[in-house]
């Protein structure tokens, strides 16, 4: 009998090298998920505890449907006339132009002093903090405050809107200025160019596209704000007629017409902004 005398053959198994476990759950992902989870929980809590004031949802949505139908399918001029409404619309547009222009000019000069590469750090930081504070207070509150100081009317609306525009634009402008390479400024300073020529000859021409696009964004925001603020400040613009039609006469036909007018202007603005953006992308 043949016997295999040798013991069990030695089998060499390949060893699994020590690899690190690869997890798809990276830290940013984890933070992202936990942020979303917290927000979701707050949402659920808020929806459960929201005060509905004994509302019957079915009736409410039914009446909403009726009102929307009256607004969008049967618009008419109601209490006011076409000329009054069109004048109101042009006042709103003028208000927007005025506040954006004033805001842009003042904001540019403040932005120069709040850019870190142009002015001392403490000046820049103080200005930025003040602007952040102004920005964090809603436009409507600024307008209300100034209407208490100056009395109701266009002046309060203009000053209130401009205030918020300045704070918004200073942030945008100073960030654009800070993108100018330090070397450019150093070189000009070294060759003896003074402060204002550096800004108007070197920095301004290179950031004009960025400034224009930020100003245009602010223009759109200001238009929405001008309409919203009209009612509060009594600036006799389209927002005032909108507020009267919806809050006092309950004339949803007129509300519909005003909304159509505003939509028309907003669409024109959007077309301009699309063309501007196309132009801006092409030139880069």
């Amino acid at each position: 009998m043949i016997e295999n005398s040798s013991s069990e053959p030695k089998i060499v198994k390949p060893k699994v090298p020590n690899t690190e476990r690869i997890s798809l759950m990276t830290k940013p992902r984890l933070i992202l998920r936990s942020v979303l989870a917290v927000l979701g929980l707050v949402t659920i809590y808020s929806l459960v505890t929201i005060d509905m004031a004994g509302l019957k949802l079915k009736d409410a949505f039914h009446s909403l449907g009726l009102n929307l139908n009256a607004m969008f399918l049967h618009p008419n001029v109601g209490q006011d006339s076409w000329s009054v409404l069109l004048r109101g619309l042009s006042t709103s547009i003028a208000l927007t132009l005025l506040t954006t222009l004033l805001g842009a000019v003042i904001a540019f000069f403040i932005a120069v002093f709040s850019a870190r590469n142009l002015s001392p750090t403490w000046v820049a930081n103080t200005l930025k903090a003040v602007m952040a504070f102004i920005r964090s207070i809603p436009t409507i509150i600024w307008v209300l405050i100034y209407s208490a100081v100056m009395g109701l009317g266009a002046n309060a609306a203009v000053v209130g809107l401009t205030f918020h525009s300045i704070a918004y634009l200073v942030k945008a402008y100073s960030e654009s200025i800070e993108e100018t390479p330090q070397a450019t400024i150093e070189a000009l300073k070294a060759s003896g160019v003074r402060f204002w020529p550096i800004i108007f000859q070197a920095i301004l021409p290179s950031i004009v596209p960025a400034l224009l696009s930020w100003t245009f964004i602010r223009f759109e925001i200001n238009f929405a704000n001008a309409v919203a603020v009209g009612a509060a400040a009594g600036a006799d613009d389209i927002g005032y007629y909108l507020f009267m039609a919806s809050g006092f006469y309950f004339d949803f036909h007129e509300v519909g017409l005003i909304v159509y007018l505003l939509l028309g202007f907003a669409i024109i603005l959007e077309l301009i902004s699309m063309r501007l953006r196309g132009h801006y992308l092409k030139s880069n």
């Binding site: 808020s46 409410a60 100081v149």
Partner: protein
């Protein structure tokens, strides 16, 4: 601009000319607007310092103000969670709309145009109109404020999300399609994970923005912190109104700082 200039002098002359024309146009626009609006530039600008002084004198909270702290904090908290919940609900819906409406993932062109048009409509109906229409049907309740913020946010986020999806690299999507992934696999495994952090930062921005808008919506619909401010302001309890302004500013700044931190962490 590749215009040829024969000399530096000519270049500078041309530039000065162009600048002058632009300045003249801007001045014309300015004075036209001043006439239309009836704005007195100098007397108004001169009143700004006086306004600020008045503000700091009358809006400073005093020891009497602490009696208002209870209702103010309660309404501030309600406003915060209503603006968070309206943003999140709108974000969920606009995510679906954005996937259906973005050029790269849209099933068909009609849907794409519908989504665009709908979002533009929602965005451009002014806050005043939203607040008033909803107030009429939903009465004076937190839910009215919620809905007004919800509809506006829906319009903004649909546009932002659509643009985020369109900005993504289309090659990954093509690669997924080439290996045989179906539409849903493409969307859930190719598009959404990639866009998630940008979209979250849009959501955070909208929450901040909604707190600010909540004030206006509150004044118009009689809910939340805006209503409380309006009430104190109209009844000349300026110390309490000032406290509200300070607290709103503090809340917005805290939110801004937190969301900057979160954005940096998830980028």
């Amino acid at each position: 601009m590749k215009a040829k200039y024969s000399s530096p002098q000519q270049f500078f002359r041309q530039r000065r000319m162009r600048l002058t024309v632009v300045l003249v146009i801007l001045l014309l626009i300015y004075f036209g607007s001043v006439l239309l609006v009836n704005f007195n530039t100098f007397s108004s600008l001169a009143q700004i310092p006086a306004g600020l002084v008045w503000l700091f004198k009358t809006f400073i909270p005093n020891q009497h103000t602490t009696t208002y702290l209870g209702p103010i904090f309660y309404q501030l908290w309600r406003t915060l969670i209503v603006s968070i919940s309206s943003t999140i609900c709108a974000a969920l819906l606009s995510l679906i709309f954005a996937v259906l409406g973005a050029k790269t993932t849209s099933p068909n062109r009609v849907l794409q145009l519908t989504v665009r048009f709908g979002a533009s409509l929602l965005r451009n109906i002014p806050v005043v109109a939203w607040a008033m229409i909803l107030l009429f049907s939903f009465k004076q309740s937190d839910f009215t404020g919620f809905l007004a913020l919800f509809f506006m946010t829906l319009g903004y986020l649909t546009r932002a999300f659509t643009e985020t999806i369109e900005d993504l690299d289309t090659e990954k999507l093509h690669a997924l399609q080439a290996v045989g992934a179906n539409y849903f696999q493409c969307v859930f495994c190719g598009v959404l994970p990639e866009a998630a952090s940008t979209m979250t930062s849009w959501v955070l921005y909208m929450i901040e923005n909604n707190i600010r808008d909540a004030t206006l919506v509150g004044i118009l619909t009689g809910t939340g912190i805006g209503f409380l401010f309006n009430q104190y302001f109209k009844s000349i309890r300026y110390d309490a109104a000032g406290l509200i302004v300070l607290l709103i500013a503090a809340l917005v700044i805290v939110l801004e700082l937190t969301s900057t931190q979160i954005r940096r962490a998830i980028a």
